[in-house]
Amino acid sequence: MKRGLRLPLEVFAVGLAFLFGMLVLLVAGYPPLQALFALFRGAFGTRNALGQTLTQATPILFTSLAFLLGFRSGIFNIGVEGQFLVGAFVAALSGIFIRGLSFPVHALLALFLGGLGGAIYALFPALLKVYLGAHEVITTMMLSYVALYLTSYFVNYPLKAPGWVAQTELVASSARLPRILPPTQLSLAFPIAIGFAFLVFWFLERTVPGFSIKAVGMNPEASESRGIPVRKYQVLAFVLSGFIAGIGGGGEILGVHGRFVDGFSPGYGWDGIAVSLVGRLHPLGCIFASVLFGMLRAGGMVMTRVTKVPLDLSLIIQALVILFVAAPFFIRYLGGLLRRRRML
């Protein structure tokens, strides 16, 4: 079955989330319209704002695609964060230690190696699941913490650059992904992420492994009986999921920070899970959902600065969006109610 985008319903959910958010503001004694205006201006109002929004959207687009790919094969890869960090770390090392390559080659190689790092990091839980029956929710979550603290250790001790910040040296300039909307931080990673969204779409809808992965996700027993090797495709989906997460981590390092900074990810991997659901588990839906979340992050900061509304409000709206989209029956019920009203 093709998953339609069903845009109106999602838009409705988002609108409702904003409405409720405004209500919360009103109750808390802030001027809701002014805050809303600040949020939108901070997200799209200027070239700077737009760049900031898309920069924020980039890593979560990668992680949402990663989660989606696993999910469609029936795997709940909630350890995207770990694969993202490993990818970031490997990309940083490749940028620092590989020498003698010129720009596009070095950057793309570093990015690819980041992806590979994420893929290998996803291979462990994949094999544990398929051969030993260890549930991926447990293993990937645990491995996320392993990745977090291991990379933290490296940038705090053996690989720490001089100075008081826990971070590595800068990667070679040949490994940097160029900025595409100066002076903002928006880098080539963003169009690459969009490209990946279309690639995942093509993969799921137009290829034999994509078809098989979906079949395995929806009914593993029927797939087995129709000759589809279930384990093989689960491992493949898991590894591809880790690969995309790793590319996302690499893109963040090579595009935005230029080095691996301890704690640079505020939980992009975890956000990806929610974004993926808001995007209705459709690769192209993830584009819209990640831009929405990027907007809430970028716009939220501006809103806080201008109106003194705490940043928590944009987090509340994020949470409401997830809630409303995750409750499609509720929304559909409301939608039906409205439609009936209109007919009367």
């Binding site: 079955m1 034999v208 079949a215 009914n219 027993e221 029927a222 087995e224 589809i228 090797p229």
Partner: protein
């Protein structure tokens, strides 16, 4: 006396008229059959009577007085009870808790257990039920759960019982038990509306029968005036043939051989199964369900590794081949539980039709790309060829009726001229027309020189179609019979009685 009368009842869903001016009279103390194909409007009619749907027009009379039933609460208050096809019990409560749930006799805020047990004992005496009241529902077989469901309805004081396709989920033995229960209730003066599309049960049970077709009432007959041919024609709207003329087909060589195949649990262990299937024959495997048939099929299609023995196909040892290799060799499989093994409900029709063949050219072009054009035109061709009623090949399979879903499975399995078809319960849950269609397909496959292994719990089906019949009991083949052998002999073998007692010579 007329217990329930319905006049001109009409119910629409959008443009679809599910019930079109239906009249129905049910006399007190009769078992009234409500017969029709899937989608004929039986369930809608009963749901209107039970207050689950509000009819758009029409009137309902109870004991001669007009009633307005707006909810199941009204219906229960008026003495109408309904047993749904999908049982509505709480699995982790006990039998008595389920019976009284929502109608608990109380003392203060406590359930008055003594009174409950007294009341149920009384109900048991009146109706002849005998159940262990403290057993948890989850531990009971479906047939017993259904008895609990009936008791629940009786406990609420129902005089008119509506049973919506109650036999669909039961084994043949449980069906017999249910029919006996219903006869007993009838003897106590209860009025029963029995919804079914199975002619055999209607003949065994009902006093009168009303046939619906496409939302309209075709007619009501006393059962004495009906024959299966008449009822089937009323249901389907054309003549239906119950005899399947088996042409003589020249049998070919041995296609499939099982040699001393045995398996380990889980499941019923197979114990040294050996047989041959030849091209151009239908070999039936009869037996009460749960005697190793499912395990045997799993071994044949590659979903279960045997512990010992060998499976040979066209002379090749395929004991350890994967499902994929077997599909490529030409072994097709119509599974017993199609929702579990046969289809992917959330996939579209075309995706289900190509499932398992997507790796083969022309459906694959290049290294990994799907050739959507080829797949879709293949799907459209199969939809035409097998007369699958579906608006478009893109709709999810979930939206199709059971008969059409099964046609999708069969269309796919027969698509590339397999030489062996393993068909398990191929007509279970299907209506008369779809059943007839599928049986004819099996015979057509035989005519084309394919081998068919037919596993079915429906003895009539096995005997009507097979050239030879093997009987399975507790993981063993306990005998071979000709399809013409009488039912008594089959019964003995299926019940595990030894071969000599069945009075036939052993074939081996």
């Amino acid at each position: 006396m007329i217990a329930l009368a319905v006049r001109g009842l009409t119910k629409r869903f959008g443009d679809i008229v599910a019930n079109d001016h239906i009249d129905l009279d049910v006399a007190q103390g009769e078992i009234h059959g409500l017969l029709g194909e899937n989608g004929a409007g039986k369930s809608v009619l009963s749901s209107c009577i039970y207050g689950l749907y509000r009819p758009d027009s029409g009137r309902i009379f109870l004991w001669g007085k007009e009633v307005h039933i707006t909810s199941p609460f009204d219906a229960i208050r008026l003495g109408i009870g309904m047993v749904h096809q999908h049982l509505m019990l709480v699995p982790h409560l006990s039998v008595w808790e389920n019976i009284v749930l929502g109608r608990e006799p109380r003392r203060g805020i406590q359930v008055d257990r003594k009174k409950v047990l007294r009341d149920i004992e009384k109900l048991f005496e009146e109706t002849g039920f005998q159940l262990d009241l403290s057993e948890e529902i989850a531990n009971l077989p479906v047939g017993v759960r259904q008895q609990v469901e009936i008791l629940k309805v009786l406990f609420r004081g129902a005089d008119i019982l509506i049973l919506d396709e109650p036999t669909a989920v039961l084994t043949p033995q449980e069906v017999d038990q249910l029919l006996a229960t219903l006869r007993r209730l009838k003897a106590q003066g209860k009025t029963i509306i029995f919804i079914s599309h199975k002619l055999k049960e209607v003949f065994a049970l009902c006093d009168r029968v009303t046939v619906l077709r496409r939302g309209k009432k075709v007619g009501t007959l006393p059962i004495g005036e009906a024959t299966p041919e008449i009822l089937a024609e009323m249901m389907v709207g054309r003549r239906v043939f119950f005899e399947f003329p088996k042409e003589r087909v020249e049998k070919g060589g041995v296609l499939l051989t099982l040699r001393e195949v045995s398996t380990n649990p889980p499941g019923v262990p197979l114990k040294g199964i050996s047989f041959d299937v030849r091209s151009g024959e239908i070999l039936g495997i009869a037996g009460v369900e749960g005697n190793g048939q499912s395990e045997l099929v799993e071994v044949l299609v590659g979903l279960r590794r045997p512990k010992g023995g060998a499976v040979l196909f066209q002379g090749k040892d395929i004991t350890h081949s994967s499902p994929k290799e077997r599909i490529r060799l030409g072994i097709a499989h119509v599974p017993e539980d199609r929702h579990r093994l046969g289809v992917i409900l959330d996939f579209s029709i075309w995706e289900n039709l190509v499932l398992g063949f997507e790796t083969e050219p022309p459906f694959r072009k290049g290294w990994i790309t799907l050739n959507l054009q080829a797949i879709r035109s293949f799907a459209r061709q199969k939809i035409r060829e097998f007369e699958i009623t579906v608006p478009h090949e893109n709709v999810p399979l979930r939206t199709l009726s059971g008969g059409n879903q099964q046609k999708v499975v069969v269309a796919r399995e027969l698509a590339f001229e397999p030489s062996l078809l393993v068909a398990c319960q191929p007509t279970r849950g299907l209506d008369v027309a779809a059943t007839e269609y599928l049986r004819n397909l099996l015979l057509a496959a035989r005519r084309k020189g394919k081998a068919v292994l037919l596993i079915s719990a429906d003895l009539d089906e096995i005997r009507a179609l097979s050239d030879r019949v093997l009987v399975m009991y507790e993981g063993k083949i306990v005998g071979e019979l000709a399809p013409e052998s009488d039912e008594y002999q089959f019964g003995l073998l299926m019940g595990g009685k030894g071969f000599d007692e069945a009075g036939v010579a052993s074939s081996s």
